[in-house]
Amino acid sequence: MAKPILDLVRGDLQLLIAHVPHARLLGMAVVDVKPGECWIRMPYSERLIGNPETGVVHGGVITTLLDQCGGSSVLAALEEVVSIATLDLRIDYMKPATPGLDIVGYSTCYKLTRNVAFTRAVAFHARIDDPIATAVGTFMLGANRAQPAILSAGT
């Protein structure tokens, strides 16, 4: 069954995150989106370095990517688009990201309840089985009365 968000972004996948100023600042681009799944690429940039001695991007950058990915996978799982908000996010760091390489985030929303969505996410360079970090997150559905930002994108 087609999900409304997938209909909305079918012509342009970037609509999924285009309304998020900070995702634009970090140069994030949606690579693919399927029901309950989302892939987002983030280019390496010297502005994102956490350790100036090694050139490795800051762990917090990975946090932002996996939070964005998690939320997007929830949107891609919903039958009806509602506003969502992160409730919690736990990140495990497996290895430093390699300086100069893009980072891809993948998230799956593996369970939706009436109020809460549960996600698992991975950050990697080339192979998802060689992770930089993994994350689990929970998101509140219908988190606020504001119109879901994605629906007012471009208006």
């Binding site: 309304h19 998020v20 100023p21 900070h22 995702a23 634009r24 600042l25 010297e46 502005r47 994102l48 370095i49 956490g50 350790n51 100036p52 001695e53 991007v57 800051h58 762990g59 917090g60 950058v61 946090t63 932002t64 990517l65 996996l66 939070d67 964005q68 939320g71 506003s83 908000a85 992160t86 409730l87 919690d88 996010l89 736990r90 990140i91 495990d92 760091y93 430093p96 988190a143 606020n144 504001a146 119109q147 879901p148 930002a149 007012s152």
Partner: protein
């Protein structure tokens, strides 16, 4: 004498600002070290800017930015209390989002629960107008740098 060793021996907020200035991503987010209390706790500020917004309709600061802010506040505190000159590496970090963070500056303070030889355990809180009404709280484990 290394950068951090020197910093620990002087230790005003203005000196600790060097921790931010050395970290490109902290500069991108507009962090600053506002003060340091008698107990040696740093007060880190996240300056609001439209580029850190996650939800433009509320508007609210991006959850990832808040997570990164808390993680950096934890690392700055660890660097100020640890030994050596290298940067602690996060093992894991858990963020709880308590309220949406509005278009205003946010502040964070970290508490080192345990500073072990290899691993440190840190809790961090962030708030905006009222420190009794946190917008996010986090805890994490960090691998402490080994050797000189």
């Amino acid at each position: 004498m290394g950068f951090l060793t020197e910093l620990r021996s002087r230790g005003t907020a203005a000196d600790y600002q060097a921790l931010v200035d050395r970290t490109p991503y902290a500069r991108l987010l507009g962090l600053s070290i506002d003060s340091i209390d008698e107990g040696g706790r740093l007060l880190t500020r996240l300056r609001f800017d439209p580029s850190i917004v996650g939800n433009p309709n509320l508007p609210a600061i991006h959850g990832g930015v808040l997570g990164a802010f808390l993680e950096m506040a934890a690392i700055f505190q660890l660097m100020s209390e640890g030994e050596g000159d290298r940067v602690p590496k996060p093992i894991n970090f858990t963020v709880e989002y308590l309220r949406s963070a509005g278009p205003r500056d946010a502040f964070a303070q970290a508490t080192i629960t345990k500073l072990g030889r290899r691993v440190a355990n840190v809790s961090v809180r962030a708030w905006q107008d009222d420190s009794d009404r946190p917008v996010a709280a986090a805890h994490g484990h960090f691998l402490m740098p080994q050797g000189p």
